[in-house]
Symmetry: none
Subunit: 124 residues, 4 copies
Amino acid sequence: MISLNYRDARPIYEQVRDGLRRLVITGALSPGDKLPSVRSMASTLAINPNTIQRAYDSLEAEGYLYTVAGKGSFAAPRSDVNERRRSELQGVFEQAAAELIWLGATAAELSRRLTALEERRKTT
Amino acid sequence: MISLNYRDARPIYEQVRDGLRRLVITGALSPGDKLPSVRSMASTLAINPNTIQRAYDSLEAEGYLYTVAGKGSFAAPRSDVNERRRSELQGVFEQAAAELIWLGATAAELSRRLTALEERRKTT
Amino acid sequence: MISLNYRDARPIYEQVRDGLRRLVITGALSPGDKLPSVRSMASTLAINPNTIQRAYDSLEAEGYLYTVAGKGSFAAPRSDVNERRRSELQGVFEQAAAELIWLGATAAELSRRLTALEERRKTT
Amino acid sequence: MISLNYRDARPIYEQVRDGLRRLVITGALSPGDKLPSVRSMASTLAINPNTIQRAYDSLEAEGYLYTVAGKGSFAAPRSDVNERRRSELQGVFEQAAAELIWLGATAAELSRRLTALEERRKTT
DNA sequence: GTGGTCTAGACCACG
DNA sequence: GTGGTCTAGACCACA
């Protein structure tokens, strides 16, 4: 489900956070779906529960999930995602695109990728 | 030339690295142009030369510049950029795009941004 | 009457408590009015009676309602409200006001809000 | 400087956070001023550094301070404070005001308090 | 020396 | 059983 790379420069909790976010984005988790409990995920990945908790806290701050103490964490509807996260994403997108274009990519071929991503999204 | 933001969460050497890379990408530095020496840049930015050196090393590893012993560092042609950096960029682009689309952006409007970036590139 | 939000970080009993208190403050419940029984409210909201009971206990301690054994709970006159609750509220008010002013709000514009709140109160 | 109350329902890190925020608001810390290091504050208050760190993280997310790894944390200008925090504050203010008015306070006397707070702010 | 991360283990509130 | 908090102690990257 989520793969960890201890040689990665990114801290573990960010890898967990990004992995979970990806599950939400790809539709593997629909809004309202319950995420694994902090403890169960910790034992699955063989890391400390505090580290998982931190990933969950971070995702909650971004608006990708919400937590009910004593109940668990649940995927949030995409409308809940933070404005801050949205603009951060926009910035990442533009910077990467600008550099790819400098490297020789054309807007046309990148656009084709976008359309492909959009199609895949619809069929999911 | 490069502005440091001590309030940025990124470490200084990453800010220097990203700043220099940006100069290359935007065309402020053309292939073959000489970059400032490590020492001069260190005194300009009032930071430790080791920090600058680290940024240069990192950029050289990515292929954005090359160093000639006793001569200095020079902006590399775009064809020298690492395959690793290219695929990393590609990954960042796709992930960001997928998430933006999930958040409601359309491929059409993102494509418009790409075309704008491409135009700006040409005119520079 | 009272809406529960399971995505709220506040525990359920606090949401019930705050919701009931709000009914009293807004005048939806006038002093002397009978509140729903613990059991009926529990079944209406589909939650555990213990949770409702806890909210009632808390409100009774603050002085917003009183309970007559065998009769039920009733909204109390505003003069019954605890000194402790009053000073707590005063503290919250001052702290929030001081911070809003620090952030750039003017006493004049905040005062306008107060007058508006007072007006609404009269017409209810 | 900051007083902790272990009998308080609020967790320690929130007490630390609120205390530090108060120092910023009252002007005891001006924008750019360095806050105590995580370790020194932890030993002063006789609590775990992780708990202090959490308070700092929270304040940084709200925009009251910024952190430079390896350097320390510094008070931010008030313009950096989050929109989210601002609206949260506004909500707290209105709720408290509405309840105080129900309890018999008049908009006029509350306004006098606001003016007093504004004056004190100016003289600081 | 500073903040950032991680672990192991503990206790509590909630429902 | 769940998440929330806290402690004690450790190692690392940064400048």
